[in-house]
Symmetry: C2
Subunit: 381 residues, 2 copies
């Protein structure tokens, strides 16, 4: 079954199996697996050790990454781009792209631009303008806690920034036929007209023409995104080529599994995910009670056959969020061999994730509403 | 044949006959003919003689006019609204709504807001952003020449003002189902997504919520529009009621006939219309050579049967654009009786229209680019 002929909904439904066939996903969507040579090149260009998201394959695929690295090397204008959808609850899933953007900014001293889709939230009837605005403010505080270089970081919401972007948005609209985006977004005849044009808002933001106060000439954009959106990026490339704009480079990351172990697209919530707002106790409880285990049915079986790291949610969390390579390797080996039991694994992961959450909490604490206000007025265009 | 079941295209095609059945158009679209009582009320409220556009039925129909007059009388916040589509050539057709807005502003000392749809021009692939911007600037000069009270007149283009309007636009988008606007605009599956959402831009501008710097509480809007858009206004009312916004009042005017006498919807151009940029000589030539005549085939027949004022373009131009009631009445009587021949009528109309154009030219002359710039910066929000 070729994934290329699937609609995004079908594509996402195919993730209901416990493991995702990333290899097939990459091959059938015309993107590339990240190579050891590319990781080496990032290390050389930045003079810093590569992030464990690269060495452990959390970021696993790319489109036009070499072009971005060429432009970084040639000191041409570039920027890193992330798109965020406001949610009441902020899950660990949100952490991956933000942390990686922070690392890339640190590595390459590059501009980071983050778009918060408050308008799309309203058009999707999930919030009023006021609610979306409150969620966006909360999300901004979570983002600032990552420790970006604030002089080189621009975070905006569509409602605030639409005026500056609108010329570019209308060009994207003009270049985007309804019949091209309709299958991807599953638009229906009864949908509201704002939804139908929303792809332009989600695309114009990846072109440097939307940020004329930062870039006087076209700048290369590197988008950090989940691989579940891979098909949208081929639409974006078509639009870019129609408009003679630079096609964005993209780095794709794996999906962060829900606690149930299913990687299916589902909105992370308090019931199925660890939230960035959880405290240490809640993290411990969720891992112990909810995290799907790759352990065997009995202790004897487990000792004999070993645990299954590829479907064990606790191990996957450790693999994504712990920066301690030695520990991760050690745990993987022992769990696979059956030396480490499921309960023992959970204890290790729980302790590591608690440290992780506590460290983040400490960084988030100084980001008060007053701090946020000062940041926004500092970055106002 | 009920007009209510017709698409706008069919509706417009029905205007290919020489005369339009305005009575049927009014009855079948749920709007009202303007009554003598309403004209009298306008006269009383303003303390000024009613404009000949009212007494001669150029503005002939209305929706919720009484509510607007109530609010004027109660000194509640109100505004007059006009929408303009930028064109390379500015035809006489453009004159009617602008002149009437100027009169109403003078009569009621009310805010006038004029939206120029430069973005829709681009989305319709009729101009680049730069070309649309140039056309909009030209149009703005033509508008300022009408002598509005500039302290109470706000003229904007969508590209300039989108940022301020966007919250309201997105609410309108949310309240507008694609299947409601699709038949009216004849949208197709291959259309670009900007066109599909453009009705929101053309609607949000009629709600005072889009002008928060003018109105701190909801203000009644009176739209001046051609009767050919009557069906769109019932969509606007649905949207307003969904959003609990005030439904705009509307005054509808007759179509200004093309020189060929056809009132069918056709973009006015140098070939079929008198342009506001024409000089006296061009006006004379167009009336003599191109204006469809309601005269009879032979002089004898004409003397016997009389000329037909209702299909005579020259007479209609006089009726719309001359402010001399005595002359218009006199000409109508004599032409209908056959006392006045077609050539004689054209001579009278030509002279009157030349005076009209020369008077407008004189008002337009001081509106230089520098003047326009100063006006824009003065009205900047």
């Amino acid at each position: 079954m070729s994934l290329q002929t699937q609609t995004p909904l079908q594509l996402l439904q195919s993730f209901t199996t416990q493991t995702t066939d990333y290899k097939q996903l990459i091959n059938s969507n015309g993107i590339n697996a990240i190579t050891p040579q590319q990781i080496q090149r990032i290390e050389q260009l930045s003079g810093k050790a590569p992030h464990h998201y690269l060495s452990r394959g959390v970021f696993l695929a790319e489109k036009s990454l070499d072009k971005f690295l060429d432009d970084v090397e040639a000191k041409k204008p570039t920027f890193i781009f992330i798109q965020k959808y406001p949610q009441k609850e902020i899950a660990l899933e949100e952490y991956v792209t933000l942390e990686f953007a922070r690392y890339l900014q640190d590595a390459f001293n590059v501009q980071v631009i983050i778009q918060i889709l408050d308008d799309i939230k309203v058009l999707n009837r999930e919030a009023t303008i006021n609610e979306a605005s409150k969620m966006s403010n909360d999300l901004m505080k979570y983002i600032l806690a990552f420790g970006f270089n604030e002089d080189k970081t621009f975070i905006y919401t569509d409602y605030q920034y639409f005026g500056k972007m609108y010329r570019t948005i209308s060009l994207v609209e003009k270049a985007t036929a309804y019949n091209v985006v309709q299958p991807f977004f599953n638009f229906e005849y009864s949908d509201n007209i704002g939804k139908l044009s929303s792809p332009s808002i989600m695309t114009a933001s990846m072109f440097s023409q939307s940020y004329s106060h930062f870039f006087s000439s076209p700048a290369r954009c590197l988008v950090l995104d989940s691989i579940k959106n891979v098909q949208f990026h081929s639409i974006i490339d078509q639009i870019a080529s129609t408009l003679h704009f630079l096609q964005p480079s993209v780095l794709f990351h794996k999906m962060v599994p829900l606690l149930s172990g299913v990687t299916k697209f589902d909105i992370p919530s308090d019931l199925n995910s660890i939230l960035l707002s959880d405290n240490a106790k809640q993290v411990e409880r969720k891992i112990n009670k909810l995290a799907f285990s790759g352990g065997r049915n009995t202790t004897e079986e487990h000792r004999k056959l070993g645990g299954q790291c590829d479907i064990d949610v606790s191990f996957q969390l450790l693999n994504i969020f712990s920066s301690d390579d030695t520990q991760v390797k050690d745990v993987e080996e022992k769990y696979s061999k059956g030396e480490l039991l499921s309960g023992e694994l959970k204890k290790i992961v729980s302790s590591s994730m608690k440290d992780f959450i506590v460290a983040y909490e400490a960084k988030k604490k100084p980001i008060t509403t007053a701090y946020l206000k000062a940041y926004i007025s500092k970055t106002k265009f």
